[in-house]
Amino acid sequence: MTIVREIIRFFNYFCMAFTILLSLIYILQMIMSFVKIKRDTSALRSDDSMEYMDSKNLLPISLLIPAHNEQEHIVQNIRSLMKMNYPQFEIIVINDGSTDKTHDVIIEAFGLYQIEFSTKISIPTNAVKGIYYNIEYPNLLYIDKESGGKSDALNAGINVSSYPLFACLDADSRLEKDALLKLSASFIKDKNTIVAGGIVRIANGSVIRDGVWESFSIPEKLIERFQIVEYYRSFLSGRVSWGLSNSMLIVSGAFGVFKKDAVIEVGGYETNTVGEDMEIVVRLHEYMKSHKRKYKIIFCEDSVCWTQGPMSMSDIRVQRRRWQVGLMDTLLSHITMLFNPFYGAVGLLAVPYNWIFEFIGALVEVIGYFIIPFSLIMGELNMFFFIAYFLLAALLGIILSIGSLILEQYTNKSAMTAKQYLNISIYAILENFGYRQLITLFRVEGILKYRKLRSTWGKIKRKEFNE
């Protein structure tokens, strides 16, 4: 019995130390991000990427949009992409065995007809049923293929694409008009860049017309407000800081630009995973390091993609479980990189961080939710320390959330009024009491149902864009 008590006591202190350590790491990341964002914001004054708008010297981009049951959003998204500020690009929509009317709405909206296509198969994929085109829309191609998942759809798009860069986009997101221009400048200013990821912002509450943000009002639902703060924290603090040490492990599936050669060289997207956006980036790190190549995977906080955040807790649950499964998939399939000095900062910092804090951390946190109150009731835990720990953990969480709102101020200078910022800051406090814990529970559910959740597209119902 004493041993059990000792174990419980040890675990209590371990949980506390773990949570505080994680918060401190986050705060360190936030400080690093602040320095980088401040530097980048100053650099915007001398930035000439807009002068490349009509230049023939920018690398042309293929925009790949995998679609599975996207009948509501797809046509509007294609129309919005056609208005992008970029000298040369093609849009390739890949219908991955949709069972709704996705196929019909695309064909009808753009008057597409089937053509015989000559394709270089660089990456094997499931059978392509047909390729559609309309001479009136010379930069639009539509691929209808048998279902094989998002990765398979992206690989099919890569095979058909004609340009040296490709961007993977979500069918239900919107790119800002200049987003490609800003992101592709990274490939010019450093030729070692192989991947550039943009920031994904929550569009709930915003009016975005033809890829231009117009206005913002605080969204109705609490869950939407929490997600706004959450995305700021994740992108502006997390990704910016990992990008600094060239050890970012994920580029959002909603918006990332890749050098096609590099992706083909590593064999394209892995089809046996739901976390294809993370897996491809980790594999590129692994490949480039093991072939001793110079490379850069960068994050550009100025290049924006808008997405509608889920509107219900059940949809958030589906989304977060899926993200956790994707994380596990990638970490398990690249376990050799863990604490491996050969992979530099990736092997020694980014991969261990994801293992310890993003994967195992969720489990520790949830076990802590049950054991700590239990210990308190059993008298194994000092009440003073419990309250102190709880206060400290909550305060650190709030410091992080408010800090990410400050970072947001530096990157997106026109989004909200001062009153709206102060309003949103209330949710930056409130999310630490319930919402974050619930999200952790969903993540743990993802871990527990890992096998079952690995083979779905994971559809989420999203709101229409306010255009």
Partner: protein, 363 residues
């Protein structure tokens, strides 16, 4: 130290940090909101003020309007840029009969606003980003008196500044300055070739002079990039050098030279291009096919037809596209479509789909 005290101290510290964060958030949010309001109304105000200058009934009224505009700019580069845009609009507005008037008014505005002085001040006193921006703006204004200073910046170690200074030198058409920058860039492993292309396409001086300096002083890899960047300008003075380059053992040099030779579209290069269309490297073969596309001769057509059977997909596709742009007979196309080589037929079919609306009248 007592642990309880330490914990309380930490909590107090967190509360202080939080208070500071809130204050910070509030201050910058208000500042940003004011900025947004300022710039969102500025455009409308500037339009009215500039239009007011051009419509002023008397010289005195005009002077007053110009002085008001100058006060409104208040050394703000963004407002200055908005004013320049509006002035450009006036520069392109109206018929010929107003041209003389507009010129007089524009020079009056310039005398009062002194944009060159404004940017020169940024060039002298600003930080690295101000200086970078000022370099480009001074070049846009054609302020030749600052070219030496800008040249100095292009030689500096700050990448952003030297890049922007080089872009400015390109606008000035300073061949030696741009060439010096590019020669130094050879040692920079980061910059992509696209910068060389952009510098050359923005160059407003003699490209022949620039190419001459670079070809004499660059290493082969840079030379190949410069040759590729110069392709659209068809510099005949270097034709012989390009033809010689086709025999180089360096792949990049062969690729650049085949593009350059192909761009001339001269019959005398037909033989060299036909040989290049059988090169070991597929990118050279693509360059040769594109060059042959411009010739339309029977031999060129035959070589392009052969290239549709190339083992590399990209060559086949380029050749199919080229063939459809050449004056070929339907028979030539049919030969390939009905021929034994399925890949060649597929390539031609795909190219046809891109050029011909197969729906015809059945739409």
């Amino acid at each position: 130290m007592n642990y309880a005290f330490l914990v309380i101290l930490l909590i107090v510290l967190c509360l202080l940090i939080l208070g500071f964060e809130y204050l910070w958030l509030y201050v910058i949010a208000v500042k940003q909101e004011n900025r947004v309001n300022k710039y969102s109304t500025a455009e409308e105000k500037i339009t009215k003020m500039v239009d007011g200058i051009f419509y002023s009934p008397t010289a005195g009224a005009r002077r007053n309007e110009i002085a008001a505009l100058n006060k409104f700019i208040d050394n703000d580069p963004r407002i200055m840029e908005m004013v320049s845009d509006r002035l450009d609009h006036w520069g392109n507005y109206g018929g010929e009969q107003f041209l003389a008037d507009r010129k007089t008014i524009s020079s009056e505005i310039e005398q009062e606003l002194k944009p060159v002085e404004f940017y020169a001040n940024m060039l002298e006193n600003g930080d690295v980003h101000d200086k970078s921006y000022a370099c480009r703006k001074l070049a846009d204004l054609g302020a030749a008196e600052y070219i030496d200073k800008i040249k100095e910046f292009s030689k500096g170690k700050k990448r952003i500044l030297s890049y922007n200074a080089a872009m400015a030198l390109s606008k000035y058409g300073d061949a030696q300055g741009v060439a010096d920058y590019l020669i130094r860039m050879q040692d920079d492993s980061k910059y992509s070739d696209r910068i060389i292309f952009e510098l050359i396409s923005r160059f407003e001086g003699s490209r022949e002079e620039l190419a001459g300096i670079l070809y004499d002083n660059c290493e082969d890899s840079m030379k190949a990039s410069v040759i590729s960047a110069m392709v659209p300008y068809k510099l005949e003075a270097f034709e012989e050098m390009y033809a010689e380059g086709l025999k180089s053992t360096d792949i990049n040099m062969r690729i650049a030279c085949v593009k350059a030779i192909g761009a001339f579209g001269k019959q005398e290069h037909e033989h060299a291009l036909i040989i290049a269309s059988k090169d070991k490297n597929w990118v050279v073969r693509i360059g040769a096919v594109r060059g042959l596309e411009k010739l339309h001769s029977p031999k060129a057509i035959e070589s392009v037809k052969n290239a549709t059977k190339d083992k590399e997909w990209w060559v086949r596709q380029t050749a199919a596209n080229a063939l459809l742009n050449m004056e070929v007979s339907v028979r030539d196309i049919e030969d390939i479509m009905k021929g034994y080589d399925r890949y060649a037929a597929d390539a031609v079919k795909y190219s046809l789909y891109q050029k011909v609306d197969i729906r015809g009248d059945n739409r």
